[in-house]
């Protein structure tokens, strides 16, 4: 759990430092959850936009 949390945080930080996530047109269509091993969505359609911060 601790390692997984850290992995997720590092990943999100890395991503959000450079990109902004915007909803894709089919965001809700793809977001049908089903359970195989874990309860997972079929697809998450997003757009990403490169961002630069003046810092």
């Amino acid at each position: 759990m601790r390692l997984a949390l850290m992995e997720m945080k590092m990943c999100l930080i890395r991503l959000l430092r450079e990109y902004r996530i915007l909803p894709g047109e089919k965001l809700e269509d793809g977001f049908q959850t089903n359970e195989i091993n874990v309860i997972q969505p079929n697809a998450v359609f997003v757009k990403v936009k490169k961002q630069t911060f003046s810092k």
């Binding site: 390692l3 999100l12 359970e35 091993n37 810092k55």
Partner: protein
């Protein structure tokens, strides 16, 4: 018992690490992405918090410590996990003695499990926490006292919701419309 790890034990443990560590984390990140796309104001706050740190100036292992200290990010991930629980199969329990709960018979061999996504719609945080930590049978006792509904898979694998005090059985479809 030998004190040395047997080959089989090593293999099975490595397998468990793989299964438990791979899909769960990536799926949780998928849910995070979904929530971020939907909730732009949350994303703004997250980006703000992340950009308050000058990551390029932090070296090596300090990065991990700094990352773990970001409180909004921590809350965000926990909230996403609450809204979209990854697993409920591992928390299911098999009934080993036929029992009657509020007039409803749970037969031996039934698989009982909470359906977290629906539970989340009804339960307060406190109750959800106990939901995660207690075995389902303990849950039945607690929730029975608290007059809260629980959902369960019965052995005919029909997903039903037991209103513990009303003893009413409704389908999930009905609940989803509420």
């Amino acid at each position: 018992m030998s004190k040395v790890l047997h080959n089989d034990e090593v293999v099975t443990n490595v397998f468990l690490f793989m299964v438990a560590g791979y899909e769960t984390t990536s799926t949780a990140l998928a849910y995070c992405t979904y929530v971020l796309a939907k909730e732009q104001d949350v994303q703004d706050k997250l980006i703000d918090e992340i950009n308050q740190t000058n990551w390029d100036d932090i070296d090596g292992e300090k990065v991990y410590e700094t990352a773990m200290d970001l409180s909004y990010l921590d809350l965000f991930i926990r909230e996403v996990l609450r809204m979209y629980p990854l697993a409920s199969k591992p928390m299911s329990r098999e009934c080993n003695t036929t029992a009657t709960v509020c007039g409803y018979t749970i037969e031996k061999g039934s698989f009982i499990r909470s359906f977290e996504i629906i539970c989340n719609l009804f339960f307060s945080l406190q109750e959800r926490l106990s939901n995660l930590m207690c075995s389902v049978f303990i849950m039945i006792l607690i929730y029975g006292v608290l007059k809260i509904q629980i959902c369960s898979y019965l052995n005919d694998m029909k997903l039903n919701v037991i209103h513990l005090h009303g003893c009413r059985l409704v389908s999930v479809r009905e609940i989803a419309l509420v």
